[in-house]
Symmetry: C2
Subunit: 414 residues, 2 copies
DNA sequence: TTCTTTTTTTCGAGGCTCGAAAAAAAGAGC
DNA sequence: GCTCTTTTTTTCGAGCCTCGAAAAAAAGAA
């Protein structure tokens, strides 16, 4: 059952809230934080003083703060960029990108490489990641904060502890224990996350007014991925990474899907499915593993240009996604949807069929009110979401706990 | 954003936790509560003393507590049945049942009537409910606790505040403001809840070891209802009552559904759909509004007895439910499922087709591990869930807040 | 009757938040 | 340039809350 609230939890939670308020608002004053959190000025003052002394926050005295009002001017509080650093690694098909992020969320350095993920063996894949992170760290001056967290985003399914990659389209191998391997080398906590989930995290922090309570992010690429946020929290299922929108059933016993089953949404809306249909191949034809962007852009151009199999293929894709979303809306009520990835470049061809499908479902009653945000480039979102996720862990698990205070009270001088 | 934790919230939360622990465990001792909640013995002792003084808990000195061990015997704590009463009302097709429940969850009295809901006008429907509650209360001796809450369960869709019935198959009228009407008369807070959600609440309290984190309850009757519990909390969508499993899309542009759209799961698995198929009617035939139990039992018997359209109809139903569950499992990972209602009487005919369908979906990999609980009679579950829901409100909003203590501290003697 | 054992209560210490008051840091007015 | 006003931030004492240790209570065991 729920565990009791102990006395020290109180301070920990309120510290976390102050940090979160600063992260969200940018550079709020103590008074603003008090207003937002509902705590008293004196409490915020005390907590802020602690956090500043611990080097987590810093007073920002930029020349132009706000309109010079009468009265004592507000002192803006900001995250101290040197309080910590985190590493955000994005591993995708034939592509690997590691970034060092400071505590305020700014990128310090990147390391980008293009390992042939489909043909590498398991050990080499892990080695590629560690080598990339090593290069990244070697290049950095020591004046940045201590490295406290690493998050790895991969397409595919992870275990519920976010420690292993159970299955991924980028490699034939399964059950790769990335977190263990990386933790052993870099001696900091590591988690392995699904890429679409990280996109959702990024969108929430970028546009909280739109993406807050319930929303979906859908990644259109060779496969169809989904990030699912319910009640403001990432839903990742009870066993694996959940949210397998692409493998909801569209047509029972329908087209052959990459997953081995038939009729999944992905088997109509994934790049391979669109290509297959455009080429006039059978619905049972074996899915292609990797389709380059140029091919898909050419298909989209052809679909836009004239009637024919290409246009039909995108319409089928739109229909599959539309019925899928309709089912989601039946379950969760209409919620904001973000469509991410190269597939957005063909969205004008996809959208009419998609909306038509939605309007034929239970979610369709709000069809007009449903709007789709398009984000063509998923990479920056994934990287950003990864960083946010890692920073959130640092905030909650390390800085909110107030290690320094505890140590002083527990062992050292009074 | 999340609001700060204030000092008095602490006591309120811990009081709520003690009450919850007693409600869950039955008659735990103070020591057991301390162990379960992680709070110290002294804290539990203080809180328990307060709650006893306020008449919320009571020491239970039944002769046979537990095996007489050495040492000071544990004193069992129980909910004081007279601390409060709540009313649980279940309104379904041509049937209305109101129950008075004491604070310990035991039913004190019932009032059962059979109003013709399909033909009544809106005002009469509200009047039927108030009259039933009035009869119920009139019959009760005054020695029971004060009436503090009422919950009304109805099939259909409610608004997000649980105050109105937006749509229901039991009446042609819509937007019925039950909560306002009842609150005006009985001067206690009232909420209107979906029946399947209340089934989920009941199951969680009856078998928490099975139904805790994520689970689904599916009600098979003329329509198909669902209760959805995610992360231990009822999910009710952002706008309406959500969880419209029956209106997820099974076959795009398929059979005519009662909701006016086509291809919904319900259009294959609802009683009217099964009857329609068994009679050899077209998939486009208008759904029947009310089918009596005997007809459905006869269909099930026929299906069990010999091959033919009846059996085929139930198989189609199983397939629709199976693919729907497969999609759910793709989204949420496999989770316990409870099948409720008269439809369970035909479950032996439905199950093979259902399992076969699930095994052809992404959720199918765990097919063997998926077990279905059957609960033929939904009424006691709905009634019980309603009562639990009302009691939970009393626990959290009234008793945990400690009105008495506040009053004393705020205005009266010290 | 005395000793053990276990549960429950009591009591003082230490933390935390709050409100009120004080201090600080500006602009406004003359 | 000085004083007044306004707003933000800090300080301080009061009041709760939880905790651990010790005491009290309530049995069975010897």
């Amino acid at each position: 059952m729920t565990i009791g609230v102990r006395h020290d939890d109180l301070r920990r939670k309120n510290r976390a809230m102050v940090i979160a308020a600063v992260r969200r608002a940018g550079q709020p004053s103590r008074t603003e934080i008090a207003a937002v959190t509902g705590l008293s000025n004196s409490t915020i003052s005390t907590i802020a003083a602690d956090l500043i002394e611990e080097g987590i926050l810093a007073e920002v005295r930029s020349g132009e703060t706000i309109a010079a009002k009468r009265g004592r001017p507000q002192v803006a509080l900001g995250l101290n960029p040197r309080a910590a650093t985190v590493v955000s690694v994005v591993l995708s098909l034939n592509s690997l990108s590691a970034s060092l992020i400071d505590y305020s969320g700014r990128a310090i350095a990147h390391d980008i490489s293009r390992p042939p993920t489909l043909t590498m063996n398991e050990g080499d894949l892990v080695e590629a990641v560690t080598a990339s992170v090593r290069r990244l760290l070697a290049r950095v001056q020591p004046e940045h904060g201590p490295l406290l967290r690493m998050t790895l985003a991969v397409q595919g399914i992870t275990d519920s502890d976010a420690r292993k990659l159970l299955w991924s389209p980028i490699t034939p191998h399964s059950d790769i224990a990335f977190a263990d391997a990386l933790e052993a080398i870099f001696t900091i906590p590591v988690t392995v996350e699904n890429d679409c989930n990280m996109i959702a995290v990024a969108l929430r922090s970028r546009a909280p007014e739109r993406y807050s309570d319930n929303f979906f992010t859908i990644l259109l690429s060779n496969g169809i991925g989904m990030g699912l946020v319910l009640r403001g929290e990432l839903f990742t299922g009870s066993h694996s990474s959940g949210g397998e929108f692409g493998h909801m059933v569209h047509i029972p016993d329908g087209a052959q899907c990459r997953c081995g089953r038939r009729g999944c949404i992905e088997a109509y809306a994934g790049n391979y499915a669109i290509l297959r249909h455009a080429r006039g191949e059978s619905e049972r034809a074996q899915p292609a593993a990797d389709i380059d962007d140029a091919t898909m852009l050419a298909l989209a151009a052809a679909a836009r240009d004239h009637e024919g199999r290409e246009r039909e293929a995108f319409q089928k894709a739109g229909e599959a996604i539309g019925f899928g979303l309709g089912s989601l809306f039946a379950l969760f009520d209409p919620a904001p949807v973000a469509i991410v990835g190269l597939g957005t470049s063909a969205f004008d061809v996809i959208e009419p069929a998609m909306r038509d499908a939605i309007s034929r479902t239970a979610g369709g009653q709000h069809n007009a009110a449903i709007s789709f945000d398009l984000e063509p480039d998923e990479m920056p979102l994934i990287r950003d979401g990864c960083a946010r996720q890692a920073l959130a862990h640092v905030d909650l698990e390390i800085f909110a706990a107030g290690v320094l205070t505890t140590t002083i009270a527990g062992k050292e001088v009074a």
